[in-house]
């Protein structure tokens, strides 16, 4: 009886050997093939109260979802200060100086760069977030160096991303005080689905300032038709009605 059991176990050994061989083959092929497209963990600078989320992002292979959530947090952060400003003005009975136009979001946001960079650290493929962050930093908050830093980081993992290069060039023209060239650089981005509405708004504003009312109207119409951001849509409609009577320079 014991002999039969021993014989049974011996018959099972090829199975064990086959299992080890197959597991090793799978592991070896994966090791040879796989190169992570993501930044290494040492590059992830976790903003306050974000460590647990980042842990889940890595542990569940859910980088995109957590990058999305960080993007929502960035937008909430970017919206909050301006809303407070707006509410303070409303309480004072005057909206004078309220920034709802081209300067929307022109407040002081010390955590903007770390939050925007963190999105790219989690998911460097989130081009919209990179463009949104760089655009806001460069053209709304007027921190061009930080915008360039963010774009440089984005380009490290997406070196062929022409949209980053275009915004980088636009920032250069902006620094040189050439708004027409800024608008020209941003122009090709406007047709892209990743183009943040804020850059569209900037382009429309620059075109309007330069007297290109027809071009500005086209962009405002696009914003009004495609954006889900009520503030931008409302502003675009208002601008469209203003532009209706104007003629080109």
């Amino acid at each position: 009886m014991a002999g039969a059991a021993t014989a049974g176990r011996a018959r099972g050994l090829p199975l064990l050997f086959a299992a080890l061989l197959a597991w090793g083959a799978g592991g070896f092929a994966a090791y040879k093939e796989y190169r992570s497209p993501f930044p290494p963990p040492g590059e992830i600078h976790v903003p306050p109260q974000g460590a647990a989320g980042d842990m889940f992002a890595l542990a569940f292979g859910a980088r995109r979802v957590f990058a999305d959530l960080w993007f929502v947090r960035l937008m909430q952060y970017y919206g909050t200060a301006d809303l407070s400003e707006h509410e303070a003005h409303a309480a004072g009975g005057s909206h004078q100086g309220c920034s709802h136009g081209a300067d929307f979001g022109g407040g002081n946001y010390p955590l903007f760069l770390p939050l925007a960079r963190h999105i790219l650290e989690i998911d460097p493929g989130f081009v919209s977030a990179g463009l949104y962050g760089a655009g806001a930093l460069a053209f709304n908050i007027n921190r061009t160096t930080e915008a360039e830093e963010l774009l440089a980081y984005g380009l490290r993992y997406s070196p062929k991303e022409w949209k980053y290069l275009n915004v980088l060039a636009a920032i250069g023209y902006s620094k040189a005080g050439n708004p027409a060239a800024v608008a020209e650089q941003i122009q090709p981005l406007l047709k892209e689905p990743e183009c943040p509405v804020m850059l569209k708004q900037l382009s429309a504003f620059l075109n309007k300032k330069a007297g290109n009312y027809a071009a500005a109207a086209v962009i405002y119409a696009d914003i009004a038709a495609t954006s889900h951001d009520a503030a931008y849509v409302e502003n675009a409609r208002r601008e469209l009605s203003r532009l209706a009577g104007r003629t080109e320079k």
Binding site: G24, G27, Y31, Y34, H228
Partner: protein, 254 residues
């Protein structure tokens, strides 16, 4: 041996029907629908990135819901059959243990595929309801999730054959799931580490199935096709777990 495939298929279909009829399946379906529907809220908060957020959150929730149900099924499946003595009835007939095991694994994998397909339809309907087209390479993202679930299912079967309770199977498989997603980080640490530490970490990488290989839904911003190597590795890991499970099953006396 000639009857291996028909027998395995019969067990798989039986196992699939049983798991779909389970009351927990309805519970999980309701949960999945609620969770995917709730992702609408996050989508609205993302304003102009609503389509991306809805797609990402939906895909992640679908995968996690299917994972939870699949692990629940695997951890209780063989244990329950042994407890209720059903397994004796099966093995008293001319059913090879290999066919039985393949059928059981296949049944759970069919359930995973079915869940992903149903939830995928729900998700696409929701996206369409919000006016968005299906995300790029959506089918690949689902295929990747299925491969991950198939690998972890096979591994969980192996664990369930030596673990003493369903909870330990759940915990060990859950840990493997997590480690499987950490392989690229482990590799980075191994490349920085000196001498023996590096060798140990590299050895660990070979032992842990790299689930990031199948993570098409997360692939650097653009969901893409699974590589042939990913498919080969996945098949090898499933086969390995099957052989190892069969080795354990062959040693058990029923």
């Amino acid at each position: 041996m000639r009857n291996f495939l028909p027998l395995a298929w019969a067990v798989a279909v039986n196992s699939f029907v049983e798991s779909v009829r389970h009351r927990f399946f309805t519970l999980f379906s309701v949960f999945a629908f609620t969770a995917i529907y709730a992702s609408l809220l996050a989508g609205v908060m993302a304003v102009d990135q609503e389509a991306r957020v809805l797609a990402d959150l939906g895909l992640a929730l679908m995968e996690l819901t299917a994972l939870a149900y699949v692990l629940f099924q695997v951890s209780s499946s063989l244990l329950k059959e042994a407890e209720t003595k059903t397994i004796y009835l099966v093995f008293s007939r001319p059913v090879p243990r290999g066919a039985y095991l393949a059928g059981k694994m296949g049944g759970v994998m069919l359930t995973a595929a079915f869940m992903l397909a149903v939830m995928g339809c729900m998700h696409l309907a929701l996206l369409s309801f919000r006016g968005f087209p299906p995300p790029e390479a959506y089918a690949w993202a689902l295929a990747g999730s299925f491969f991950k679930l198939a690998v972890i299912t096979a591994f969980a079967f192996f664990v369930s054959l030596f673990s003493t309770s369903s909870v330990s199977t759940l915990v060990i498989s859950g840990i493997m799931w997590t480690l499987g997603h950490f392989v690229s980080e482990t590799r980075f640490i191994a490349e920085q580490a000196p001498g023996v530490k590096a060798a140990l970490l590299k050895g660990a990488i070979l032992l842990i199935p790299n689930l990031q290989l199948f993570n098409a839904r997360d692939a650097a911003g653009v969901t893409g096709a699974l590589s042939p190597t990913a498919v080969f590795s996945g098949a090898a890991w499933i086969l390995a777990a099957y052989f190892a499970s069969l080795w354990l099953l062959a040693r058990k006396e029923f």
